[in-house]
Amino acid sequence: MIEVWHAFIKAIELIVSLDPEVMEIAGRSLGISATSVILASLICLPLGGLIHFYRFPGKRVLINVIQTLFSIPSVCIGLLVFVLFSRAGPIGGLNLLFTPTTMVIGHMMLITPILLGLTISALSGVDKAIKDTALSLGASDFQAVIIISKEARFAIVAAIIMGFGRAVSELGIALMVGGNIRGFTRVLTSAIALESQKGELEMAIALGIILLSLSFIVNVVLNRIQQR
């Protein structure tokens, strides 16, 4: 018990002294997650809009599938990306396994259902009267789409933050396709797993505190937005 307490004090010291390794790992986590979220948003927000605004056969089934994939285990995505990018896999020739690039790809696959699903629900949450009001004031269909999306802006930002929270806190992809290579693909979650196994409790706890704070901040921001 005393040992744990000791490690905890040390961990705080590591954070307060801005230990280079701790900061580097935290920075990489942020960078990789943010990149994934930005790239995934660029695809998912317009795609979610298309799914919401257009009528097509199988629309309801598609939305159900998207919602089911919200909580897909990250190890499953990890496995999929691993198989795709491994030497023997279909795109193994690219030699991308165990790089930040594959991690970003994995994260994007992980959060795509969340971003799509929450974008669609954000748009359908906009009062139908908004569309009619816009049309009656002379908006073209496209102009109406724009203003409906603007009305949904807070809910869409919330979706993006949710996606970020999921990406930054997952472990399966980071381990399986990142490989936890020091100084290259090591991120908060994979480092915590490794350090605690090695018995480096202080390092693990320091990183854990940072991860927890990140989740906390994400939640506070989310709550703020959802209260608007």
């Binding site: 009062d127 009267a129 908004i130 009619d132 009001t133 816009a134 049309l135 009656s136 004031l137 002379g138 908006a139 073209s140 102009q143 203003i147 603007k150 009305e151």
Partner: protein
């Protein structure tokens, strides 16, 4: 000149036929009020005119051109109108932006937008709230934003759906004043709906009575009120005494009461209607020109604002009479009192 015309317009939602074969012409520059009880189809009709919905059958003409379609024609036609919905809807942005949207969408330049919006903000008395989020406004203020937003685009036809529903009397009169201002300043053609007959009379040139998806009467503003054409309209314009009677010559038998009509009717069943304010109550039998005099007993007195509705039982028939508080106390009327009723034969409306 007719600016908007609907011909044989019908709209059904599933089993429910909300509009049945509607024919209406709107003259350029007039204020036309669509009046009718709740569920009559007023909103449905306005939405069809604004091409927000398509009719099940029938056509809509704007400036003598058939515009009954969505897409490009729909958009171009819609841009010549503006629609203020029953529940005020505001965009989640500033009051200024709310009013500017319609102009932006028409490609109006920034400086021109600023000038127009500022002018209109002044007109609707919302200059102080220019930069406030419109979502935080009160119902009456939001309604003024909605109206301001609609007139900002200088529509040829302004469609107002129950502009004062759910507003308190002060907000209501402010909105009515605003509408009167718009009429004077721009001469805009207005088609408005209301379920308030008095409001229709205050604001409109002509009135269309819509009941249960059908046009029951079209007329000048005082005409509909003074001369309802059928029983439903009579009921709607506040004739509370409506009875099924048997017409015989110049008389009508209302159960065992003989009512003198002062004119010949076809011998048949029909309806007879009298406004509650056209009946006189007295303590003694009046020996005036009123040909219809009955003795009755007060069964109930109900307060209605400044007035009282006195229900008088004559035989099996209950008459409703509207009198002032003064008259009530002068005549010392109370429930159970025995009194006389009288009404002129010219106050009797008949429907066959």
């Amino acid at each position: 000149m007719v600016i908007v015309e609907v011909r044989n317009l019908s709209k059904r939602f599933g089993e429910k036929e909300s509009l049945k074969n509607i024919n209406i012409k709107v003259e350029s520059g007039e204020v036309l009020a669509l009046i009718g009880p709740t569920g009559a189809g007023k909103t449905t009709l306005l939405r069809l005119i604004d091409l927000l919905d398509m009719p099940t059958s029938g056509r809509i003409y704007f400036d003598d051109t058939d515009v009954t379609q969505l897409g490009k024609v729909g958009l171009e036609t819609r841009r010549r109108m503006a629609f203020v919905s029953q529940k005020p809807v505001v965009f989640n942005t500033t009051v200024y932006n709310n009013i500017a949207y319609g102009l932006k969408w028409r490609g109006v330049g920034k400086s021109s937008i600023r000038q127009k919006v500022d002018n209109i903000l002044e007109m609707v008395n919302l200059s102080d709230h220019k930069n406030r989020n419109a979502g935080t406004l009160s119902g009456g203020e939001a309604q003024r934003v909605a109206i301001a937003r609609a007139i900002a685009v200088e529509p040829e036809v302004l469609l107002l759906d129950e502009p004062t529903a759910n507003l308190d009397p002060i907000s209501t009169s402010r909105i009515e004043e605003l509408i009167t201002n718009i009429i004077h300043r721009y001469g805009t053609t207005i088609v408005m709906t209301t379920h308030d007959m008095a409001q229709g009379q205050r604001l409109a040139d002509r009135i269309v009575v819509l009941i249960n998806g059908e046009v029951h009467q079209v007329g000048e503003r005082s005409e509909v009120f003074a001369f309802p054409r059928d029983r439903e309209v009579a009921e709607f314009v506040g004739m509370k005494n409506i009875f099924l009677v048997e017409f015989k010559g110049s008389k009508a038998w209302l159960q065992n009461l003989e009512v003198e009509l002062g004119r010949e009717m076809k011998d048949a069943q029909g309806y007879l209607a009298i406004r509650p304010e056209d009946i006189v109550i007295s303590r003694e039998r009046l020996s005036s020109s009123m040909r219809n005099n009955f003795r009755g007993v007060i069964s109930k007195i109900i307060r209605e604002g400044f007035y009282y509705e006195v229900q008088v039982k004559v035989g099996w028939v209950i008459f409703k009479v509207l009198i002032t508080g003064n008259a009530l106390s002068e005549l010392d009327l109370r429930e159970g009192a025995s009194i006389y009723l009288a009404f002129k034969s010219t106050a009797i409306h008949t429907f066959q």
